[in-house]
Amino acid sequence: MNTLMAQGLELMLIGMGVVFSFLIILVAVTTLMSLLVKRFGQAPAVSAATTTAAPAGDMPSPAVIKAIEKAVRQHRQSQQ
């Protein structure tokens, strides 16, 4: 039973060690990456990719707009 507790303690030490080491490395790598991106990243290719991809999400599609215009027209006619 005591060996089991010892194993548990060891696992805790290793576990928290690995978690902290991993996340500290990740902090470093991420910070470095952000620095590099700030300096070099705004290359035209990437930013183009960024901008063309963005709108897809929040613009209603042409079909929807058409349907809405139609509905608006119908709605108005029905109120005249």
């Binding site: 039973m1 978690v19 902290f20 996340l23 991420t30 990456m33 930013s47 990719a49 897809a56």
Partner: protein, 432 residues
């Protein structure tokens, strides 16, 4: 009137055991929590319902064909199965079933064949569990969907908050030790069991389920129920702990506004994370790999139709199936044991300690650095996304009605997801 007796023998009431009755009530309780108390209903409703189905007597929805044949088959069938096992038919149904469970693949194939010829088939919950959970594919697909819904922006704007997500994982290992300590009180938790219990403290459903399926499948029902229940209870568990560990002044600390994060950084982050996992901790690769895939798909902006399906139809389908499969493990003999009480207590302890260490880490950061950190957001490091971040925001507003901590808390919140996946990798490696 032979058939009438058969009829009565075929009712559930005739076969209903006390354990099944209690489990049916427990599962009704879970449904009540899910529906009336809104405790993580997306998971607890299917889990509770799966538990109901699993505890319907005779129906065998959560049983293999072999198990059903062994328990309800005719004496002839039992004799021919005993013969395959090289045993005496009088050994008793339970003894035969134990032997069948331990048998090699060739023998199991033959037993399955005999069961099928006698019209016994694998129950639907058993099939879903085998296909989706034993392979690990359901929690991994859910993690992909979670990745597709996660925004690392706040984390990238303030990477130090990763450390809060690290500190909050202390709850995992504390609960692990606690589980081992319970052995002195007569429970019987192996190191693998203790690791699976500890991971409740990760406050991440799919991670808990993935780890438990690998390390201690017989505890899956209790651990999943505990994990999702405590996640739902975060608004009740965390505030008193936060208040106890911080002064009113600390809670009013205003943090610098987060800088805008470019899409390039957001695209590179999941890739970097995956490469780091590959080089340092391959045991965390399945979980973090699928998580990063979902996030990369989202941030890349070039596969929006895949992201849409991943974070809707796919994750929804898998959520239902996962819930049912977890419910399949809510059997009386696995759930109605002292160990379940231990799991429920330790899960709560894990949440509380994780919250506390997250807050304390934030206070430590505040001493070491010039940039102020409101210690409240440390509590969000346990993950329980996005509930814990909202709780941090609410506690912050109580202290200072103009201090919005939500975005600041999202950093440690998603860091906690990474942290517990890393911890899961360590546990799988050393306790597996």
């Amino acid at each position: 009137m032979d058939k009438l007796e058969t009829l009565w023998h075929s009712t559930g009431l005739f076969h209903l055991s006390g354990g099944q009755l209690i489990m049916l009530l427990v599962c009704l309780g879970l449904l009540w929590l899910a529906i009336n108390k809104k405790f993580e209903p997306l998971l607890l409703l299917p889990i509770g319902f799966g538990g109901l189905l699993a505890n319907i007597p005779v129906a065998g929805l959560a049983e293999s064909a072999i198990s059903q044949a062994m328990h309800f088959g005719s004496q002839d069938l039992l004799a021919s199965m005993a013969q395959v096992l090289g045993m005496d038919a009088d050994a008793g149904r339970e003894a035969l079933y134990k032997a069948a469970e331990g048998a090699g693949p060739a023998v199991q194939d033959q037993l399955h064949h005999l069961a099928q010829k006698a019209n016994y088939g694998d129950g639907i919950l058993y099939l879903i569990y085998t296909v989706g959970l034993m392979t690990g594919i359901f929690p991994l697909l859910i993690f992909m969907g979670v990745g597709a819904m996660t925004d690392f922006g706040p984390l990238l704007a303030n990477p130090r908050t990763l450390l809060l997500g690290a500190a909050a994982q202390f709850g995992i290992f504390a609960a692990l030790l606690g589980a081992l300590a319970l052995n002195f009180l007569g429970m019987e938790f192996s190191l693998a069991d203790a690791a699976a219990i500890g991971i409740i403290g990760g406050a991440d459903g799919p991670t808990s389920i993935y780890v438990t399926t690998k390390l201690a499948p017989e505890l899956l029902g209790a651990i999943a129920v505990a994990a999702y229940s405590y996640m739902a209870l975060v608004p009740i568990i965390q505030p008193p702990i936060i208040r106890a560990l911080t002064t009113a002044k600390e809670r009013t600390i205003k943090m610098e506004q987060l800088r805008p994060v470019s899409q390039t950084e957001k695209i590179l982050f999941p890739i970097l994370l995956l490469v780091l996992v590959a080089l340092v901790l391959p045991d965390a690769a399945p979980l973090l790999g699928m998580f990063c895939l979902g996030n990369l798909m989202k941030e890349s902006g070039v596969v929006s139709r895949l992201v849409d399906t991943t974070s809707n139809a796919l994750i929804n389908i898998v959520t239902i199936m996962l819930g049912l499969a977890v419910g399949a493990k809510l059997s009386a003999e696995q759930f109605l044991v002292m160990e379940t009480l231990g799991i429920l207590v330790l899960g709560l302890v894990a949440f509380m300690i994780g919250t506390a260490t997250g807050v304390l880490m934030a206070k430590l950061l505040n001493r070491l650095s010039h940039h102020p950190v409101n210690p409240i957001i440390g509590a969000a490091g346990v993950s329980a996304v996005p509930m814990a971040a909202r709780v941090a925001n609410k506690v912050g507003l109580e202290a200072n009605p103009h201090n919005f901590l939500l975005m600041h808390a999202m950093g440690p919140n998603v860091a906690g997801v990474i942290g517990s996946a890393v911890a899961a990798g360590v546990l799988l490696n050393f306790a597996g």
